[in-house]
């Protein structure tokens, strides 16, 4: 069974939700502690939402320096999949694993509501979707305005690193970008919460797409590492 580690920082809030969603997706959830430099054998990693270390200094800034993040960096460098959700997205940008930063919302207010995310391109992160499809997933954040300087945005767009855009931009993100990956495509981050959209009873099941993508990528990585190296 694929296992997914969920990092718990002091101040994480959606860690339990992410662990629960992983279980509902049929994978094995593993709780990872911020102070441990070890992923306990997890095939994939979720950095969950919340206010890690109180988001003092700058959202995600302190967490990016915690011991567990060295292990996450190593995992990502080896091609292992990592998904950052909300505060997790902020942590991954602060850790340099994803480009750009998250600024305060253009409204300067915390906003909690469902958002429609338009699929930009075919990607292993978005199994069984077509470009133009819409995923309805809740968001809840104060600092979710995605920003990077124009040359960086140009590169992201050119290399197909933008996976989802807001249909109606809720926070002032550049180019309405909602979800980006790193150049290699194994690290992804977004502000909306796929782990809160896995059951119809509490809203929607559209979040299963991204979590399914995470699981699919970890299977692919396992196969890649286990397979005998093909001649170049």
């Amino acid at each position: 069974m694929t296992s997914v580690g969920v990092v718990v920082f002091p101040g994480s809030c959606d860690d339990r939700d992410a662990l629960r969603a992983v279980e509902l997706m049929g994978a094995e959830p593993i709780e990872l502690w911020h102070a441990d430099a070890d992923l306990r054998g997890a095939d994939a990693v979720i950095i969950p939402g919340g206010f890690s270390y109180g988001d003092y200094l700058r959202c995600g800034a302190i967490s990016a320096l915690s011991p567990v993040m060295s292990a996450v960096r190593e995992h990502a460098a080896g091609g292992g999949p990592v998904l950052g959700i909300c505060n997790g997205f902020q942590v991954l940008t602060e850790a340099g694993l994803l480009p750009g930063v998250l600024r305060p919302n253009a409204s300067l207010r915390f906003r909690c509501h469902d958002v429609d995310l338009v699929v930009e391109r075919a990607s292993p992160w978005l199994p069984d979707t077509q470009p133009g499809d819409v995923l309805r997933i809740p968001m809840k954040h104060h600092d979710g305005c995605y920003f990077a300087p124009p040359p960086v945005i140009g590169e992201l767009e050119a290399h197909g690193q933008v996976l989802l855009r807001y249909r109606s931009n809720p926070n002032g993100s550049v180019n309405a970008i909602a979800c980006v990956t790193n150049r290699d495509g194994n690290v992804a981050g977004l502000m909306p919460h796929p782990e809160h959209a896995v059951e119809s009873l509490i809203g929607s099941t559209d979040g299963r797409v991204l979590l399914g993508g995470l699981l699919g990528l970890s299977l692919a990585t396992i196969r890649f590492h286990d397979a005998p190296k093909a001649p170049a």
């Binding site: 101040g11 809030c13 339990r16 939700d17 206010f51 409204s107 207010r109 059951e199 509490i202």
Partner: protein
């Protein structure tokens, strides 16, 4: 004088400070305790009634729910952001002190009219403060209320309710036991913030010098609060604590005396061991500081190393500051010197209790006003939908995390929030309601109505109302008129709770809400928790499908007196509100629960502020679908009525379930128009008016 008799000597300054706080209204309930005894507090579901940090009820499947509402009115009037934030922090601590994981927050807010800059400032900052703390600790906000009335201009009301879930076997107590056991303080360090908050702020009215009270407001740190929750739940999970108490009003003084008094023991406290945020604090300052995010626990000595290690894992200071004794005295020392020695029973048991004087206010009248003619029903509906007291609360609720915890089945915006209790199929519905303007016209009926409305809101989701928590916001009880209002309101609340078989398991009293001698409206705020056996059967307030039949269930009395129509269309508040028909109310709640259980309801929405016309319009706006309904009494307000919609095929079954409860067909769901009797409005217009009113007031885009 009294203290001299109790001690048999003069108290020193330290002891006097402790007495003055514990005998303040806020801690000692000296004007309300005798009256509060009138409220029913028992029932088959009650695991913990009033007297602990929060009430606890059994909700089945081995699960229990802790609930409490508390005011933070005066701190919020002085510093709205921190006042509101620490109000949320305080009520959260009360809940996890019972061993429960907090799963829901609700907030009940009242300000002056929002055409004043300062009132909008208070409103905006209080909402930010409530959101800031709740969002950061990761507890979903699922409902509440906001009202604007001139009576709250100088004394806003900020009441916060929290609900937590625990295993029924894990109920925690604040009772200190076992001489030789250790008193452990953990969490934040102690500073000079909030010194005397319980007496300076909470137990006096406001006058011209109120800004000078700002240093008495505590400062909250939700990150510390979050660590405190997780660490506490971990300590309890490992069964490491003999008892647990949060530090709130009057700080260590209150916590230690309550723990010792309920356990019938004494406590020796060494104040020089308390970790301080600033040096050179006087012993009495350490004793009464209201620094936030601190807990006190009684720990058996052999468990202390494990407790210390677990606290260290969460980066929390934990310090042994004293021990349990057999002598029944609260003894405090500092640098080896005894600074205070007080028999515990005198702090909690001998607090003076006063019978309040009751003088019927001259403004109260015996008769309702004659019925009014509605000249322009469409115009009135437009005005009401855009009235700050009725318009959509989305501007508020979307600043709150409504979803963390993966439990929110019904989000804010309807009658009650619904939270499922995984891993069971059960859910709880929670509502928080009050109406000060109506209660001002008849305190007894108004308080009974608040109970009915909160319970009815819970019943609209299909839940069976199970327990009540209340917050009584009143003026200075030493005046006979406020004494009368308080006594009458408690009587009304008791009558309604008895008729609906709802125990009042916890509560809070906030008195001295006044400015320059003018009290606020008497404002009892009632929180109700109800139980749904199956979360999947929860009903929302929005119409669903074209062709569904619209019916009015129940036929409680209604009147224009005290209504929003009377306030915003006629421009007055006068007359007398009708007496709730409690038998009708009870039958209505049972009907709603039974109909939801059988999945016969497409929607249910209670008729409240703005009357039937507003109720129909809200269900239509919520479902983005029109409605055509016949109705005469468009704007009258009263209890005991709910608008439901259902498939026509279910009509016979609904009538059978209703039995003798009136069930009257009003019309059908569908189209692009809202037609409520002679009031006609396009759905688009109604939605625009309803959704844009508050954002427009606050200068935000919609």
């Amino acid at each position: 004088m009294r203290i001299q008799e109790l001690l048999g000597r003069d108290p020193n300054d330290f002891e006097l400070a402790v007495y003055s706080l514990l005998w303040s209204e806020h801690c000692g309930y000296k004007h309300s305790r005798l009256l509060l005894g009138r409220l029913p507090a028992t029932g088959p579901r009650v695991l913990q009634g009033p007297g602990e940090n929060a009430g606890v009820i059994d909700v089945g499947d081995g699960l229990a729910v802790a609930l409490k509402v508390e005011s933070h009115n005066h701190p919020s009037a002085v510093e709205p952001f921190q006042g509101a934030a620490t109000g949320v922090g305080g009520i959260l601590r009360d809940i996890f002190a019972m061993g429960a994981r907090p799963v829901a927050i609700l907030d009940s807010l009242r300000f002056g009219e929002p055409d004043r800059d300062h009132q909008r400032h208070l409103f905006g900052r209080v909402v930010e403060g409530v959101g800031h703390y709740g969002n950061c600790v990761g507890v979903a906000n699922v409902g509440g209320e906001v009202y604007f009335e001139p009576a709250y201009e100088h004394n806003c009301l900020v009441n916060a309710m929290c609900v937590g879930v625990l295993s029924a076997e894990r109920l925690q107590s604040a009772r200190a036991t076992g001489p030789g056991n250790l008193l452990v303080l953990y969490g934040s360090r102690t500073g000079r913030d909030g010194i005397g908050g319980a007496s300076v702020l909470a137990s006096q009215g406001f006058d011209e010098g109120s800004q000078a009270k700002r240093p008495s407001v505590q400062i909250g740190d939700p990150f510390m609060g979050k660590k405190l929750i997780e660490c506490t739940l971990a300590l309890l999970e490992a069964d490491l604590l003999a008892s647990l108490q949060d530090l709130g009003a009057a700080g260590l003084a209150s916590a230690t005396s309550e723990m010792a008094s309920s356990g019938g023991v004494g406590l020796d406290v060494d104040l020089s061991r308390v970790p301080l945020r600033e040096p050179d604090m006087e012993p009495f300052e350490i004793m009464i500081s209201e620094s936030q995010e601190r807990m006190a626990a009684i720990v058996e000595p052999h468990r202390w190393p494990t407790v210390r290690d677990l606290c260290a894992r969460w980066d929390l200071d934990a310090t042994v500051i004293g021990e349990v004794t057999e002598n029944g005295r609260l003894r405090a020392s500092f640098d080896g010197e005894l600074v205070g020695d007080i028999p515990v029973a005198t702090l909690t048991g001998d607090c003076p209790r006063y019978e309040v004087e009751r003088t019927r206010p001259a403004r109260l009248v015996d008769h309702a006003l004659p019925p009014v003619t509605i000249d322009d029903p469409t115009g009135a509906l437009r005005t009401l939908l855009g009235s700050p007291n009725i318009a959509s609360r989305r501007w508020v609720t979307r600043q709150y995390d409504q979803l963390v915890g993966s439990g929110t089945v019904v989000r804010p915006g309807g009658d009650a929030g619904v939270i499922r209790l995984t891993p069971s199929r059960r859910a709880i519905a929670i509502a928080l309601d009050g109406n000060g303007r109506r209660t001002g016209l008849d305190p007894r009926r108004g308080a009974a109505s608040a109970v009915c409305e909160a319970a009815r809101n819970v019943a609209c989701t299909g839940a069976r109302p199970a327990a009540v928590t209340n917050c009584l916001n009143f003026g200075n009880p030493e005046t006979g008129e406020v004494g009368y209002e308080l006594g009458e309101a408690i009587e009304g609340m008791a009558l309604a709770c008895e008729a609906l078989e709802l125990p009042v398991v916890s509560g809070n009293v906030s008195l001295y809400n006044e400015h320059m001698g003018r009290p606020i409206h008497p404002t009892p705020v009632v929180g109700v928790v109800g139980v749904l056996d199956d979360a999947a059967t929860a009903v929302s307030s929005a119409f669903r499908t074209a062709g569904d039949v619209v019916l009015l269930a129940g036929d409680g009395p209604s009147a224009i007196d005290g209504s929003e129509y009377q306030k915003v269309v006629i421009g007055t508040t006068a007359g007398r509100i009708p007496e709730p028909d409690l038998a009708n109310e009870r039958a209505l709640h049972e009907f709603l629960a039974a109909a939801a259980e059988r999945q016969l309801l497409a929607s249910a929405h209670d008729v409240a502020d703005g009357g039937l016309a507003v109720c129909l319009a809200e269900s239509a706006i919520g479902g983005a679908i029109g409605v055509r309904a016949d109705a005469d009494d468009l704007f009258g307000e009263g209890d005991g009525r709910v608008v439901i919609s259902a498939k026509r095929d279910h009509l016979a079954a609904l009538h059978e379930l209703a039995g003798s409860l009136p069930l009257c067909e009003l019309g059908t769901v569908g189209g692009e128009l809202i037609r409520a009797g002679d009031a006609r409005l396009s759905l688009a217009d109604a939605t625009e008016i309803y959704e844009s009113a508050i954002p427009r007031l606050m200068g935000d885009p919609i």
